[in-house]
């Protein structure tokens, strides 16, 4: 006798919505966090100059950091919800590979990063690789 798992009872659209929520929230969170860390500067140098407390203070006094963490927290709870209904082998690779692409786009648009051909190629290769790993 097989016991129905939560993953087997979730519809396609519900699964897509859960994964989309993870991808959107984590992209917003990662871009905001990256912007916050760039505005703070090299943490290794801050730690060398002001110690570990100084580095922690520099991070915790940046408002943008809290906004980023807020979105990452939303992504985390979306992940927990998705894991409760779907298998890890679907959720982790799907969200990870899609987040790579959305982050490359967001990094270029919002962070003005130099996403050259090398980085686009890497993002696509890693994205396909993560997809293949799930199969």
């Amino acid at each position: 006798m097989t016991i129905p798992t939560p993953a087997s009872t979730t519809g396609l659209w519900a699964a897509a919505a859960m994964i989309a929520a993870i991808v959107l929230c984590s992209t917003a969170g990662e871009v905001l966090t990256a912007a916050a860390m760039k505005s703070i500067g090299d943490l290794d140098e801050i730690r060398a100059r002001s110690g570990l407390q100084g580095a922690i203070r520099a991070v915790l006094t940046c408002p943008l950091f809290y906004l980023g963490v807020g979105f990452l927290a939303l992504a985390f709870f979306s992940l927990l919800l998705a894991l409760n209904h779907l298998n890890l082998s679907l959720v982790a690779p799907a969200s990870a590979s899609l987040t790579l692409v959305t982050n490359a786009i967001a990094g270029k648009i919002f962070l003005k990063e130099n996403v050259d051909r090398r980085r686009w190629t890497a993002a696509v290769l890693v994205c396909i690789g993560v997809y293949l790993l799930a199969h």
Binding site: F77, L80, N84, L100, V115, V126, G129, V130, L133
Partner: protein, 165 residues
């Protein structure tokens, strides 16, 4: 000052990012699949799940990941750090094959190869987008630079106070 090429210590930080994230996710999965289905209409149940042992251990690993991740983002671009973190999937696959003796299909080996190639692609390039001196802290910027940052469509040429002879 940020480095374009990474130091060994910085590779170690990226390694921690790569290892802690998949292990943390695995612990979360182990914890969440052991719980009864949770409805989105009852978020309090979701928060209560955080205090179960597997999920708490997973969160501890993810805190380690986040600290390393923040450090990496302070000296490297987001589009450089993220592919490096995907290398964690390769580490998990190797652990599954050689430690847990799980079979790995041809597709998975192909996935491992693609991720490795992708990460090595990024690792060969610069880790940080180098911008002109306009990146100076806000307190040190000239008012003219602030105006040009605020929305000027075309670059503003600063007016020199003294003409060079």
């Amino acid at each position: 000052m940020a480095h374009e090429r990474l130091l060994p210590r910085q590779y170690l930080i990226l390694g921690l990012v790569a290892v802690c994230a998949p292990l943390g996710d695995t612990c979360l999965s182990r914890g969440m699949t052991g719980l009864p289905p949770i409805s989105p209409a009852h978020p309090a149940t979701l928060i209560a799940a955080v205090f179960t042992p597997w999920i708490a251990f997973g969160i501890a690993l993810l805190i380690g990941f986040f600290a390393s991740y923040l450090t990496a983002l302070s000296w490297a671009d987001l589009t450089f750090v993220l592919p490096a973190t995907a290398f964690g999937n390769v580490i998990v696959a190797f652990l599954a094959r050689f430690w847990l003796h799980e079979p790995i299909s041809l597709e998975r080996w192909a996935g491992i190869a693609l991720i490795t190639i992708g990460v090595s692609f990024v690792a060969q390039g610069p880790s940080l987008t180098v911008r002109p001196a306009i990146e100076a802290p806000a307190s040190e910027r000239l008012p003219l630079e602030e105006e040009s940052l605020a929305g000027a469509a075309e670059p503003v040429v600063p007016v020199a106070e003294e003409q060079p002879r």
